[in-house]
Symmetry: C2
Subunit: 666 residues, 2 copies
């Protein structure tokens, strides 16, 4: 089944990869030399892709979780006819090239995910497999399998050491993700040396414990064995499969089997030795014609056939199920049905209603869900607290893959990586949730949402010391400002129900930016005027929620979330003392900074120096708006356990204290 | 072996816990009702503690990883004679009490670790067991076992779902931590409902895969079975043991076995039912005398005997091994031998040397290590890059527990929790390391270093876009400002070799605050004057590294790390243009903010408004020093893959750009 040309092709991947690294004088040659056979076998014998149509919805997904092996991925993409030229390979790791140090989604044709931060590639692959399972259940009909593909991930020892690998593998096992297949490049070496210095688990036992199928290929150079294992993995559609493939890192190089070949170019002499080992007499970057034609035949041509078959099925499907087909297309186009906003209550201050913003969030999610069958999400075992289950939806479970409430378990980091994977897959609008303080657990994946430009929505509840009794381990302090400092994230902390609705509108409209919604545990009153102002105000990041009576206010109180009501109360009190200030509600720094200078000036007139910010979180960063001589009421120490209201008072968030501080400051 | 009074005592723990929760009208009754038997058996039959001497160095450690079960822990502490009064229990979750919502280290007598954020308690327990193994190897002598104790942790389903549980369990298995014993309260319920909605792993297979001993107690109410399992666990000193103990959450309450009893008070009626179930006729908070005396006998009195025995051994040890005993005592007192600073090179600008700050860091670590046998630490598989191995030290391995370079594997979060555990145990000065960008993976544990007041040192290298080729996944942007916003963390980004030495001095002197050292991958020149200025300058957080020639400068350039050299070059160029500015090196915001107003004024005169900050990271937060009308040169988007120097230039960190921006700003 495998011939000389196959072997030549495997070596072509190896040589192209080390030429690429050597030419750049930077990169990782070890993985490609060891893992080329498994990659080749997968790509030419199993992977259902159409390189000329690389965004085809029903393609198999391949995620190189061990992203440092990027040179191998780029070599495969080049040989398979993706838009990755030899010239690009020769500009590996150069500014502006499509071949950056680690694979970047959106930058390079055929790259399915940004990887490099270990473990997360596997997490995103799990998300893709969940998306496949869910969409197949949603859209497939007898005779019409419009979503029916596998998700593959290539992982390293390092990936499996990371905690996130546990979270997502356990979840995948629970969900019976039978179409998830993981190739484990098991070479017993990590960056610092032999893995047995720190890592000697029995992967078979561990993954069987998760409910996976475990297969082993003892010799990672045997294409037949790899091929057979892949076939066996595909046959088992009830369990995810991990194939442990024993390889030798840097195989063929003088220092093969050691960490010396992991992360640095081999150097001229070693490259020469490797070339000799592989009987490779071609010039650097020269690929034998038969290799190109083998890829053309097995990948490109087969890919075209696959795609055409699918297109034919889909054409018929559109006729037979026009509504579903429409929904399918709009879902992949990331469109949202906005009618949901008519299904949420109208909130006015006159009702004198108080409602926790997490509770409003629950109503909003339920409404969005009703009007948008592609909207789904979940919680890391905190549905009851986050209030993020959609009312009319069921749990997404192995027996019920149409379900749209995802029970992630106590797996925050895994949750976030999975959300990224679902978003990357396409066809869904997704969200996740946990306590705001535990956003710390998932920071690595939230950053990858932002870096990849994925419009994932994070709902973080229990947003401050107002949490009260649970104490400092459960009370966010630095988190708001932390989130704001991440590039390409819209952080929104709504002040009341109307701002929650506005915030979700922003989140749903986003195409390239994740949204972080920061919601309260405690009840908040509906504020005067937000029924008119909040939709536009939230979109613009900040707005004057209560004007001073003068053209130029005597000062400005700027607040977010639950502190806006405090600012309004302080405003009244100050006015009694003949200090006439305006109050600005500023749910989002980022959105405000995208506004025109004139809008910004209208909200925060430059001439007004007497400014005070009110937010139950770290003050560092508020100087952007209050200035270095300004006044920031915040919290720069940890919280405390006690009655929420008492704690809030104790930390100085009272009308009297605000008034006193502001008057002193004037 | 167990009699009626034992059973009464178990029920006393249950009733005291639910009285405590009920009285507070807040808390978690489910765990205590289910887990009281295992806790009782452990505390009365196995745990080697002396409640009257709760800081005794050789006590067994007990970490309640499932920190939400705090009411049970406080009940145990009360009954065992710690300084936790009935009155304290009656002030559970009230401000200022010693009984906060989740256990807090340092606040409550007998609490060994702050827990609540799931998974981390187990991680800290692993760290404590590592400390025990290491210190035993360092100090014990034939006939003198001055360190010889077990570490126990009680974990929940949620703990084992968290990724960190994988990292630390795998590490513990690798290290053969035979004196680590985990009691797994296996009740199949988590906050949202039955765990089988998300979690159905085979814990036995999983932990055997890690190399642990697995034991099972089928009925968590059988004290004899628990006792026997604990004995068996203790006998196996070659493997850590997990004892899966099947329990019923909220046992005895009407809604037992469901998530309804997890996190809310039971309510009057349910409490009445539970009382009836347990035939409990005592008033709330009333404890039968025989229960107190049982605890007095088994815990308090035995504890005194244990301690006295140990003290006798230690007295002799001091005579036989006075030097070791002295070292042992000073180590536990967290003292540092400062002679190390004579073992690092003298750096002057005249040498025209350039050295990466991570490379200087390596020399410093090696020097500290030589003079301080209690100083140890490691890296999450990045020794070769972080340069954090101590030169003359060996690896800490199962066969070589005296080794002081810890190979954590690719387990950042686990690493940080373990460091916390080692610090909590006492007797060590510890540090860990990884790439700065991957501090995202360990944020949850770094926060617990700060909250617990543990002087752990984090060495984060590859501090900016200067990383270059590895690209945006490996280039920190928001991380510096993120770290600065966490309460009780000293973040230091040194500008050159002398500042690195100064930074380590601060880290070593710290008793209650973790230190984050942010070091460069690329070479940095030794700057003029730092040989004189840096030690004091770093300690004070910021200092004028180059004065203007006027009394009041025309402006101030404030920079950190690798950007200080840029600021100095820009200063010269500006002076050519007759703009006479000073340059401030500001390695640490926090340390600067602790200085007197007059010192701060001497560095950053209030009158000078023309200020510019230079730092290759997020700008949000720099307004604290440059003001809202000031100028912050930073990076508010993601990095890029390419040659480091080119990327730096591209992002505007050139002398010309600085000069141009500053002149325009003036």
């Amino acid at each position: 089944m495998f011939d000389k040309t196959d072997k030549l092709s495997v070596n072509a991947i190896r040589m192209l990869s080390i030429d690429t690294v050597e030419n750049a004088n930077s990169g990782h040659p070890g993985l490609p030399l060891g893992a080329a056979p498994m990659a080749y076998t997968l790509w030419t014998r199993h992977l259902k892709i159409d390189p000329k149509n690389s965004k085809w919805l029903d393609r198999d997904r391949f995620v190189l979780s061990a992203g440092h092996g990027s040179a191998m991925l780029y070599s495969l993409l080049h040989l398979s006819g993706y838009q990755v030229s030899l010239d690009s390979l020769q500009h590996f790791r150069k500014e502006g090239s499509v071949t950056p140090g680690h694979p970047e989604y959106g930058l390079t044709d055929g790259v399915e995910a940004t990887t490099g931060p270990l473990g997360q590639g596997l997490g995103m692959a799990v998300g893709m497999a969940m998306a496949e399972k869910h969409l197949a259940a949603m859209y497939n009909k007898p005779k019409f399998k419009i979503i029916d593909h596998y998700t593959y991930s290539l992982v390293s020892d390092g990936d499996l050491m990371e905690g996130i690998s546990h979270e997502v593998a356990s979840l995948a096992g629970h969900l019976n993700l039978g179409k998830l297949i993981v190739l484990y490049d098991s070479n017993n070496i990590s960056l610092d040396g032999p893995t047995d210095m720190a890592f000697d688990e029995d992967i078979q036992k561990r993954f069987k414990g998760y409910g996976w199928q475990y297969l082993k290929v003892a010799d990672g150079n045997k294409l037949e064995s790899i091929d057979q294992a892949l076939s066996e993995a595909k046959e088992n559609t009830q369990q995810p499969t991990i194939i442990e493939i024993k390889t030798i890192i840097g195989y063929g190089a003088p220092k093969q089997g050691t960490n010396k070949v992991h992360g640095n170019p081999l150097g001229k002499e070693s490259v020469a030795v490797a070339r000799k080992f592989y009987h490779w007499s071609y010039a650097p970057f020269e690929i034998p014609a038969e290799v190109y034609s083998r890829f053309r035949e097995l990948v490109v041509k087969n890919g075209e056939v696959h795609y055409q078959k699918w297109q034919a099925v889909f054409d018929k499907y559109q006729k037979e199920y026009p509504e579903l087909a429409h929904q399918f297309r709009t879902s992949f186009a990331n469109e949202v049905n906005e009618e949901w906003s008519q299904k949420v209550p109208v909130y006015t201050a006159e009702q004198q209603l108080t409602e926790a913003s997490r509770a409003t969030g629950h109503k909003v999610i339920s409404a969005i869900s009703k009007c948008n069958p592609h909207f789904w999400g979940g919680s890391a075992d905190l549905f009851s607290s986050n209030k993020t289950d959609a009312e009319d939806s069921q749990a997404f479970e192995p027996e019920n893959p149409r379900g749209r409430n995802i029970w992630f378990g106590v797996r925050e980091f895994g949750q976030a990586a999975v959300l990224n994977g679902i978003a990357l897959h396409g066809g869904s609008k997704v969200y996740g949730s946990t306590f705001f303080v535990f956003s710390d657990y998932l920071r690595g994946a939230l950053r990858l949402s932002a870096l990849q430009g994925l419009p994932v929505t994070y709902v973080f509840t229990h947003d401050s010391i107002a949490v009260g009794e649970d104490g400092p381990t459960h009370e966010p302090i630095e988190h708001l400002m932390n989130m704001r400092a991440i590039p390409n994230v819209n952080v929104i902390r709504p002040a009341d129900a109307n701002e929650v609705i506005g915030a979700w509108k922003v989140a749903l409209a986003s195409k390239k930016t994740p949204t972080v919604l920061v919601l309260s545990r405690q009840n908040l009153p509906v504020l005067p005027g937000t029924d008119r102002l909040a939709a536009e105000g939230v979109k613009r990041g900040a707005y004057v929620i209560s004007h001073s009576q003068k053209a130029i206010p005597a000062g400005i109180l700027i607040a977010t979330g639950s502190e806006v009501q405090l600012a309004l109360a302080a405003q009244s009190k100050l006015l009694e003392n003949e200090i006439d200030v305006s109050v600005v509600s500023m749910p989002s720094f980022e959105l405000f900074e995208h506004q025109s200078q004139s809008y910004q000036e209208s909200v925060l007139p430059n001439a007004v120096d007497a400014r005070m910010s009110l937010e139950m979180g770290a003050t560092l960063g508020w100087e952007r708006y209050v200035g270095r001589k300004g006044l920031a009421l915040g919290i720069d120490r940890f919280g405390a356990s006690g009655d929420g209201t008492e704690i809030i008072n104790h930390y100085g968030f009272t009308v009297d204290n605000v008034v006193q501080l502001f008057e002193k400051h004037l």
